[in-house]
Symmetry: C2
Subunit: 408 residues, 2 copies
Amino acid sequence: MGFQEALSRILGSLQPLEAEAVPVRCAAGRVLAEDVHAPIDLPPSDRAAVDGYALRHEDTLGAPVRLRLRGSVTAGEVPEGELAPGECVQITTGSVLPSGADAVALVERVRLEGEWVVLQAGVGRYEGVHRRGEEVRRGELVLPRGTRLTPRDVGVLSGMGVAELMVARSPRVGLIVTGKELQSPGEEMRPAGTYDANTGAIAGEAERLGCRVVFSTICGDSREEVEAAMGRALELADVVVATGGTGIGSLNLSIRMQKEFAQDVMPFLLEERGELLVYGVRSIPGKPLAFGLVDGKPVFALPGWPLSAVVTFHFYVKPALLRLMGVREQPREAAVLERGVEKERHLTKFAPVRLRRRERVVAEPLYLPGPPSAARAFRALAQADGIAVVPEGVERLEAGEVVEVELL
Amino acid sequence: MGFQEALSRILGSLQPLEAEAVPVRCAAGRVLAEDVHAPIDLPPSDRAAVDGYALRHEDTLGAPVRLRLRGSVTAGEVPEGELAPGECVQITTGSVLPSGADAVALVERVRLEGEWVVLQAGVGRYEGVHRRGEEVRRGELVLPRGTRLTPRDVGVLSGMGVAELMVARSPRVGLIVTGKELQSPGEEMRPAGTYDANTGAIAGEAERLGCRVVFSTICGDSREEVEAAMGRALELADVVVATGGTGIGSLNLSIRMQKEFAQDVMPFLLEERGELLVYGVRSIPGKPLAFGLVDGKPVFALPGWPLSAVVTFHFYVKPALLRLMGVREQPREAAVLERGVEKERHLTKFAPVRLRRRERVVAEPLYLPGPPSAARAFRALAQADGIAVVPEGVERLEAGEVVEVELL
C-alpha cells in the first residue's frame, strides 16, 4: 500500500491516552488535554501602565495645570480613599489606580514643585492606564486542547493564576532492537559485530516528543527471542517500536525467500499474536515496514538501518505518538530544493536534507548516489535537519522546485 | 550603551563551565565539550549492503553463469573459510563478506536451481558491498566540541561504539522574581495582586536550553528581601536571573526619581556587592536591564513585565547560558516582514513575531499599537514564535523587508 494509506490505517487504529493533572510549573513541553479559558480578567483591575501620576483626565483639560500630590501607591498596594478633583497620586507601573483616577501622566512629562505636580499638556482619558480585561477577558479561550505548551504558554497560564492543568499522559515506549550482530556501545567489538545506533537515536527522538522510554533491549533475530522481548515490552509500554527483523529487500521478494532468510520475524509475530494492519509500504525508506496491534497496543517494526529507522520513525511512529497525546497536527515546512531528487514513480521518497534558512528556506539533499542509499547514509543522520517528502506519482523534482519538509 | 556593547560586556565576563562525563544514551540535548573522533572504521569490515549472494566478481564476467551455493552467512556470523572460484554464499544485509568474495548479487537478480545460483548478468567489483571505512574512517572528526547533540548524533556516536562523552555541565540557574504585588498561581488573588508569570516562563526557557533551575523565589522589592534572595541564589546557582526591581521608566529618568520610587534595588545591589557591568541598554525592551558579577557569578536583572522579561532573556541571558555551555553560535533565521515596524533610531527593537514558514518565511509583527507595548502584549507571549531584531540606526522597516529573527 502507499504511504498515505499506511498512515491512515495506523492513525485509525489509535485513541488518545487518558489525561493527567500536572502543576503549571512542570507543564512546559506537555500537551493540553483541555481547552483553557481565562479564570480572571487580565489585568484584574485598572492598573498604571507607566510610572507617573494618577489623576482625573478632566483636571488636565486646561493645561498647563498643577495638581496637588496626595501621596503614592506602588504595585501590590490598595490605594486608600477616593481621588478628589485637583489631586494626583504618585504611582508605579502595575499599581492599582486609585478610585476616581482615570489616567496616568508619564513621570517624564511632569515637573514637581513641592507638593504640586505641574503638567504642560493634557492627559487623555485612560492614557497610561492598563484597563481591566484589556489583555484577556475572563472566560475567553486562551489555549485550546492539543496545544504543546511552550515556556511562554506556561508564563501566560501562570499569569492568569492557573495552578494545575490536565495534560496528555506521556506515552510509555518500549524499544526492541533486533539483530544478533548488534552490540551495545562500550562493549568490545566482536569480529562480525555492529554497534547499535538505533536504541540511542529512537529513544532520544521519542523522549523529545514527550514520551518515556520504559523498556529497551537488543535481541537476536530468532522468533523465540523477539517474542519474549515483545511480551516484556507489551507489559510495560503503551507502544512498542522494534527495528530490524523486517529484512525483505523489496516488495517483490517471494515468500519462499522470506522464509529462507528467516529474518522477517516481526510481521509473522504480529499476524499470529494480534492484528497485522500494515506490511510493506511503497515508501523509501519504509518498504518492509510492519504495523499491527497486539493486546490492543500499537507495535511498529521498522527497518534496521539506522537512517531508515530514524526516517520511518518520523513519518510513521511520530504521528502515532502525537495522536496518542492528542497533539493538533502541524503543517510541514516548505523549502526550495538545491539539487534535483529522483525516484521510482510508485514510491514516496523521504530524502534527508540539510536546511539553510534565510528568507528563503533552501533544502540540500544529503542522499549519496548509488543504492542502497540507506546503508550508505549513516552520517546523513547527523547532518540532516529535515526530511523532504517526494510524493507518489512524481519521478523527479528539479532544483528550484518546492518540497514539503518534515523537521527533525 | 547599545545592545551589541552590552552583549559583548556580558559575554566577555564569562568562561565556559567545566565538563562532565555522561553515558551516550543520556547525551541528547547536551553540549559536546570535546571533539569526537571516530574510534573505529564504519563499517568495521566489508559487509553485504543488500540481501543476496556473495561471490567473486571475476566469476561473473562471462554471464550468464552459474555458481555453486556453498552455504550461508547472516549478520553477526563470521564466515568460515575462503570462497573458492566458482562458489557463492547466501548472505544477508550487514553480514561480513567471506574471504575471497568481493561483490554481492542482489537476491532479486538471481535464480536458484538446486545447489546452483544462476546469474544472467555480471556483477561489478564491490557491487552490493558496503566497504570498510566507507562511511567513517577511524580517527576522522565526527562531531566538534560545542555541538548540541541531537538524538541522531547520539545514534551516530552509539554506532561508532562511543559509550561515554564529555559534555558541558548544565548551568544551575537561580530565579528571583521581585514585586510585592506578585502571587503564585493557585493563591487566592489579593485586591492589588498580580499572578507571577515570570517564574514559569523563564524557568521553562532556561530548562529548554539545558539548564537546571535550582532556586526560585518571589520576593518583595525591598533591599533587604532582594539581598537575602540573591545571597541564597548565589550559594546554589551558577547564574542568577532576577526580574523586576529595575523599574526605571527610561534612560533620562533622573537619579532623584529612581530613589524616590525606590524600586531599582538590583543595580544598586550589584554595584555594592560586586561589579556592575551593564545598567541601561538602548534596546526596547531592555532599557532598564542590569548585569554584573557577584562573587564572580553572573547576575542579570531583567525588566518585570512578562513579555519584556522573556524577550530580554532571549537576547541577553540565553547567549550567556550558551557561552557557559560552550555552544557554538548559531546564525539567526531571516524572514520577510508582513507589516512595517517603527522605532526610535537610537534603539535596538526586539519585536515579537509569528512566523509563517513556507518556502519564504514571513514574519507577522505581534506588537500592539500604543505605548508601552510591553505592558499590553501579554498574549503575544503565547502567540510569538520568534523575535525580530530591528537594529540601531534604523527608524522604520517596511513590509517586505528582511529581518533577522531569533527563534523562540
